[in-house]
Symmetry: C2
Subunit: 665 residues, 2 copies
């Protein structure tokens, strides 16, 4: 009785055969205990000592298990669980611009973000994660969902130079961020932050505004850096330096920064990170799946950087399992350095706990089991066959078992901020079946949206955005096997022909051909433009034109009225369009073109003198064209073209209907 | 009633929302059904059709789940589950020769193999594996354990040129293999085979004998090939060609071969495999963990090889989870080719099922759900959050969910050869808790064995084998700062000194220093030997010598009797010894030595004239030594050395007690 009275009362006493602290000495207590009062850890230590010192309202004995700090997921786009396995095994641009962004534009709302975060929380808690860092839209909804689930999170509001689902301009994005940060900055579970998305999706002004916001409220700043080699190359071309020094000049690292990915950074850039205490979020699965590369984690660790581990969004992973990521981080570092002693198990667990907290600048709150920190802890059962047998010779063996063999199935109990979120694998704060039902209903809508979109090449084209649907009609005629030099002289000498302007071009056309009901043909043209007199390249223009084989109408002299359903700047690569549209066939036509804009009979016409280079022996052509808008106008122009052909001394028998694309078939 | 009578009766009808067949057309039935009678699949197809055609004694409805072929683990050392997490994050040689082999020599018995395989089977069944390929010792015990667990297996008996736990010579290993194969060759679950371990652990004769055994009984041959770059380099040095053409010349590929790892093979070697239908077992986790490299799987697949997936032994993985390996295979291939479209999910599942069966030469039995094949199938529930939401637009989405997001926790039911091995995650053939208890008891013994061994440097030395413990005593004296040239002339001119032989040496000594109770010092010496007259290198000798700082006795004139506790050829690298022994400190001494064996007073003595190169300014030394066996002999030799020192005109004051190792401290 007197002994009982001399003990200090706490809320919860947790005992286990092993307690891993991840404190600076890496103490392991065997057996150990943790005492929790309110939201904090009061004591951690040897089991007997703790039991002699404290008495608790709630006593939990984990037995043959390890109690350790909860895992910390340092990078993700949490609501994207709702887009998991929507589209896989695609290249980053096709995946992002062909699927993720069009669907996000259509479906992302605050409720989408809340639902996706709740779904993610169910998965994260069941796999032992207690804290996550997020970068997405409507961040307040993410924060709300995290709090309802009981998880700790740094929720950073995305800001981009493009219109986003939650902000039509970056100024409005920053406004939203400021408002959100002000209201959440003292929350016990959520730390708000700002996330200028990546060097290639921001402007210097946007970055500077985001930094001053982060500094004003002393909140974390989250950003993607150097995820792909392409990004770094492009940045060098545009700014004459890689992203890291550019961001440094803009003052980014003055803020409490967490940089995601960092696959392609060099030692100098790492030293910059070290100097400014920039945390790194390493995302092994995502970097493999999108073939971004293997981040130089060993070197970062050797230079003293705080490197945490992240899952990235479920749309590129496809799960949110930190045990799996931790294991993969350890394995990849070995093969990357060709040294199996690299990144041993204890260091991998360190990255997934205390070092992750440091990378997120919240190590004062969480990441290790130490008195005074918030009670964020998990219990992993050691009963499974995969964790058998139990060797005890080497104390590092325990880390090995957790990193190389434990699965999420072994995570038994999860506590965050002193509150149990899972006991015996049963979620206490989340109604998973209800979330599943709602997520599946939404998936059906997304399926329908994409299937509708994929009904035609045109709708797929419109879906990738940036362009408006537009129809244009052209009256045109073609003559094969002409003497180009003689014809050019004759054209310019023809009375009533006024030369307006001209150019010499090399045109590389790829036709993507579809066996659909419209006979769709999507032409991707790279057009090298020079002066008519020759000389240097003036410009290279890529254009994308969708046509159908159906001709609208034919006039006398084989003059045809054709319709193009879409014509726009081709802003992405031929490879992108090929992988996105997946044509049934593909053919190429290359030609040299001398192009003349003339006025004839008061009307502007284009006259092209073409030599086909590919396919070989494709011959020479005269082409006369004019845009038109009405049937009356079309008929008038067809008559004018007939007159011009007569003036050029070309007989109607020489006219051909073949399109260039058919030459290549 | 009449409708019921017209139906064909089978044993089991399994229905599910999805049935993945992995047949040549990759048919997926949504919803689907499988009809099983005895050990075989009778029908697979559309659910309604199957239900209209068959009636069953047992009806299992999996609901929101996928029924698919059981996973096939194409490479492992199954009993090594018992050594899981015994020693991790070590280099291959330290891990293998320092830990695995010494423990195996001591502990591997038929019962060890049975127990380890049962433990492995519990884990494999729970993660959806129905078939495995094994290479280990006492293979009949492995086969017995597989049959008791109800699993299908190809069990290949290891044969090595070294003494193995189950055979003191390879001839006896082959004898054991023949006997085992004869008795098991018609078993319904186990296919016996022979496993010449690897090119570097066999002889040409052994290989040829193993091949003729495999051909005689038409059974599979399993072998490791090109796991590390080192192995290939060494093989080239020894045989002037890499392992694959060497094995081809020896006729290995005439047998039904499965080659494990193949991390370092080129396109020509892949074509050899293609020509001979050699199956490949790709082991992604093991190759990462041991830093062996990333196998060029994409190229193998493009060339039409049958590449299966394996876990390798649990001691280098550390679990036996094929879902995880399959996922890792898909992810690694993408980063290795820097292309995220490489090895899409369907192909990864194909490797883990039908292609694995082909790689093991048992595709007539298993690997796909097709009528006539054995009923080896699993049901994976799609209810988990990690598999939510469910998109249906793209049929490949189902493969994505299984490969990128499913976990072993989702595997609900497992059937092999028409028999249920697991229902609702409950194992039906294995008593896991009893196995755990026995495995943990054995682990305690192994712990004790290793801890005893690691009590002293000497016992650790003996544990890595190949040498016997041996003590030797030496009488020795040292004189510092001598004029080497003058002293050599004086020595050879001394009356009563007979010159026997001599050599010039460059000696590179590394001292590993231990703060143990004996003051152990382990010297690793690389000794370059030349003629006294100079000229080319005659030999390079590596020696390992364990001494303690304790001197046995001191005589007058600072002549000491020292004891070396171990002296042997150093067959492994300095790096190996460093990582294996983990000394507290390390120091280096390099010297040039002119070494004279002389006879003086009827006794053989060694006289060394040394110039220390490292540490710099280490000076010059005369050293006189002689081995001794008894105290009387030691005293006599000490007197002789005193006489010789006097004859060389060296005063007793010049003598020093310092050891060379202390120069470097």
């Amino acid at each position: 009785m007197s002994q009982q009275q001399s003990k200090t009362r706490v809320d919860t006493l947790i005992t286990a055969d092993f307690v891993i602290t991840m404190n600076p000495a890496y103490d392991i207590h065997t057996p150990g205990a943790v005492a929790v009062k309110d939201d904090r850890i009061v004591a951690v230590g040897d089991q007997q000592t703790i039991l002699e010192t404290y008495v608790a309202t709630e006593r939990v004995d984990e037995g043959n298990a390890v109690v350790l700090p909860g895992l910390i997921n340092t990078h993700g786009h949490t609501p994207m669980t709702l887009l998991r396995t929507l589209a896989d095994d695609l290249r980053l641009d096709v995946w992002l611009m062909g699927y993720m962004m069009p669907v996000e534009r259509e479906f992302v709302t605050p409720h989408f973000c809340w639902l996706g975060t709740q779904l993610a929380a169910a998965e994260m808690i069941r796999s032992g994660t207690t804290t996550f860092m997020d970068m997405y839209y409507f961040e307040e909804a993410v924060a709300d969902a995290a709090v309802q689930a009981g998880m700790r999170a740094v929720c950073a509001q995305s800001v981009l130079k493009f219109p986003a689902p939650d902000a039509p301009s970056y100024e409005m994005g920053l406004e939203r961020s400021r408002d959100y940060i002000m209201r959440w900055k003292d929350h016990p579970l959520v730390v708000p932050g700002v996330a200028p998305h990546a060097p290639y999706t921001v402007t210097p002004e946007l970055i500077e505004a985001a930094v001053s916001l982060a500094l004003e409220f002393d909140v974390p700043l989250h950003i993607h850096i150097a995820e792909t080699a392409q990004e770094v190359d492009d940045h060098r071309k545009e700014y004459d330096m890689p992203p890291v020094p550019w961001l440094k000049k803009l003052g980014v690292f003055e803020a409490k920064t967490t940089a995601a990915h960092c696959v392609h950074i060099d030692e100098g850039e790492m030293r910059t990170f070290q100097h400014y205490n920039v945390g790194v979020a390493h995302n092994p699965s995502s970097n493999l799946k999108l073939a971004s590369g293997i981040a130089p984690v060993k070197k970062m660790l050797d230079l003293g950087l705080n490197v945490g581990i992240g899952t990235d969004g479920a749309a590129s992973n496809n799960d949110l399992d930190m045990l799996e990521e931790m294991r993969l981080a350890a394995l990849l570092a070995k093969v990357a350095t060709m040294n199996p002693t690299t990144l041993p198990a204890r260091q991998a667990l360190e990255m997934a706990t205390i070092m992750g907290a440091r990378a997120m600048h919240i190590e004062d709150l969480t990441g290790s089991l130490e008195p005074g920190k918030r009670a964020d802890l998990i219990a992993i059962s050691l009963d499974a066959t995969r964790l058998t047998p139990q060797f005890r010779r080497d104390p590092d063996n325990l880390y090995s078992r957790l990193v190389y063999a434990a699965h999420q199935e072994d995570v038994r109990d999860v506590m965050v901020n002193g509150r149990w979120l899972m006991r015996d694998r049963r979620l206490l704060t989340i109604d998973a079946p209800a979330l599943h039902a709602e997520a599946n209903a939404l998936a059906q809508k997304i399926d329908a949206f994409l299937m509708r979109r994929e009904e035609s090449v045109l709708s797929k084209l419109i879906a990738i955005g940036g362009v408006a649907q537009e129809k244009s009609f052209e009256v045109q005629v073609k003559v094969q096997d002409v003497d180009l030099k003689a014809l050019e002289a004759r054209l310019l000498a023809t009375p009533d022909v006024t030369f307006l302007r001209g150019s010499e071009r090399r045109q590389y056309d790829t036709y993507f051909i579809f066996d659909d009901q419209w006979g769709s043909r999507l032409r991707y043209r790279e057009d090298e433009v020079m002066h008519l007199e020759g000389g240097d390249l003036i410009d290279v223009i890529s254009r994308l034109t969708l046509t159908t084989t159906a001709k609208e109408r034919e006039y006398e002299n084989s003059i045809v009225l054709s319709r193009s359903r879409f014509d726009a700047r081709g802003t992405r690569s031929r490879r992108f369009y090929r992988e996105y549209f997946q044509p049934d066939r593909e053919t190429e036509v290359h030609k040299e073109r001398r192009r003349f804009h003339i006025r004839y009979g008061g009307t502007d016409l284009s006259v092209n003198l073409d030599r086909i280079i590919k396919p070989e022996g494709g011959g020479t052509f005269l082409e006369i064209k004019s845009r038109t808008w009405s049937q009356q106008d079309a008929e008038r122009k067809a008559r004018l073209i007939s007159d011009l052909l007569a003036a050029l001394d070309i007989s109607p028998q020489a006219l051909v209907k073949a399109e260039y694309v058919d030459l290549g078939e």
